[in-house]
Symmetry: C2
């Protein structure tokens, strides 16, 4: 059996893992500082543990996923200082001399949930995470969805319920895109209290469920997934799932068969296990 390495590269922390699957995962967390220091500590983790056959990197974006591009494997235009235009794949490959797989963190999480989680064995999966931002990954026919670049699902436009919700949204690019209206920071700015401190009967949750359901409805109409997984910090703080499901039924109004809408199963390991699944898939060819 092969052993794989994974790096979940995030803006505030890197999670590194070694595993053949969820049962034998060893993981460590490294704060995200400079690229050199952070990668050096990641490489040290892999060297100190069992040898691995390949490494999967599940990265914050935007990233260049096109193998024919001159900047394949780069984190591209991030505002995170020294990480902009950083060749994370090249750097890992040079240090480790191993095959490196590369994807967005959310696509990797979709793959991990399809391999070992709430969408096990399902080839058409939408994975949405709602926290400090809103990100989406998708598996369509077993392939992770990306093309010119990669999905930026948080930035779709949905109807803004202006009569009830005049809040202009927090997205610096779009104002009231889905992320601008329904991310954790949007809730905090709108209600002047952190999402986790809003009581379960606060009208914030009804509005949140509505916006998330509008987003999910659009993704369903576009991708026709068999399962929809919605996770992230905001989903921890109220019983949003039944409300999202009721809204989805209202919005789509019987026009199409609804997929199951469920929480992901792998929790805070979804990104790092996504890296493991990417590495496994890379070696399987």
């Amino acid at each position: 059996m092969s052993t794989f390495g994974a790096i979940e590269a995030g803006g505030t922390k890197f999670v590194c893992g070694i595993a053949s699957g969820p049962e034998d995962l060893i993981r460590t967390t490294i704060p995200t500082t400079t690229p050199e220091e952070t990668m050096c500590r990641a490489v040290r983790f892999f060297r100190e543990h069992a040898p691995v056959d390949a490494i999967g990197i599940a990265s914050f974006g935007p990233v260049d996923l096109d193998p024919r591009s001159a900047t394949f494997g780069y984190i591209t235009s991030t505002p995170k200082g020294a990480w902009a235009n950083y060749n994370i794949v090249g750097s890992a490959r040079e240090a480790m001399q191993l095959p490196i797989a590369f994807e967005t963190d959310v696509n990797a999480a979709a793959l991990a949930e399809s391999r070992w989680g709430a969408a096990r064995g399902v080839d058409d999966v939408l994975y949405l995470t709602v926290g400090t931002g809103i990100g989406g990954g998708a598996l369509a026919g077993g392939r992770l969805v990306h093309g010119l670049a990669h999905p930026e699902m948080g930035h779709i436009r949905v109807p803004h319920e202006l009569a009830e919700d005049p809040f202009p949204g927090v997205c610096p690019f779009h104002g009231d895109c889905l992320e601008g209206l329904a991310s954790g920071p949007a809730m905090e700015r709108r209600w002047r209290v952190k999402a986790e401190e809003l009581p379960p009967d606060h009208p914030a949750w009804k509005l949140e469920a509505r916006y998330l359901a509008l987003g999910v409805a659009n993704f369903i109409c576009t991708l026709s997934p068999k399962k929809v997984l919605v996770g992230g910090g905001v989903l921890q703080h109220a019983d949003l799932f039944p409300m999202i499901r009721v809204n989805l039924q209202e919005i789509l109004n019987g026009y199409l068969k609804l997929p199951e809408v469920l929480p992901p199963l792998l929790g805070s390991n979804s990104g790092v296990l996504g890296g493991i699944a990417l590495a496994e898939r890379l070696l399987a060819g």
Copy 2:
């Protein structure tokens, strides 16, 4: 070289074709009456012409595309009378004794445009048609997108510009979904004149470009296509492309690299050539 057959199955007409590609296409049009009569005339067309090696059916929906389903190859819940729950693939296979490929008309058109048209050689394509309805097909990494069912892109929700446009929309299921706001019948009902009779400087076109750009922006954020093709009757009647492109730039506001947005090249042959491309792909395995 193989020769393929195609059926573009529409609600008002069937277009049947025989070809190895766009250069040698022979086609005929059959009005859509009962399933038995229509299919009988289609089969007669194939029998009277060159023998074909496989047939691709590009069908109006909803259809069952899941080969593991008991109703694979059926047109399912259409309001079009006798066509509901009709086994179009089974019927063609029984009559022709040939391999039959099956897809939605819009997915087939996306494939044809990727094979011979405006997205030739491109594996990540969005194809949108705006006419009596709005339909979308997508190729992602070379695979046509479908999962639980198939995309219903016309039914996504976009911000409804209510101040400027109080029109409630024409979709019987959703009112003001994209199709409800921006299809040909929506334009006709809103302005009380057929879309093709609206002068080029009528404010209708500005609003239409805005709604279509909102839809395209959402599809780009979800699928990240390399090319976006927008065709159909409504696109013939004003110079919508530059207006859609300007709106797209405003809506996405530099957040991501925009794919090219172009008219399709295959025109009224996109569906039937989609059937040809499906048959070709089926035999190529």
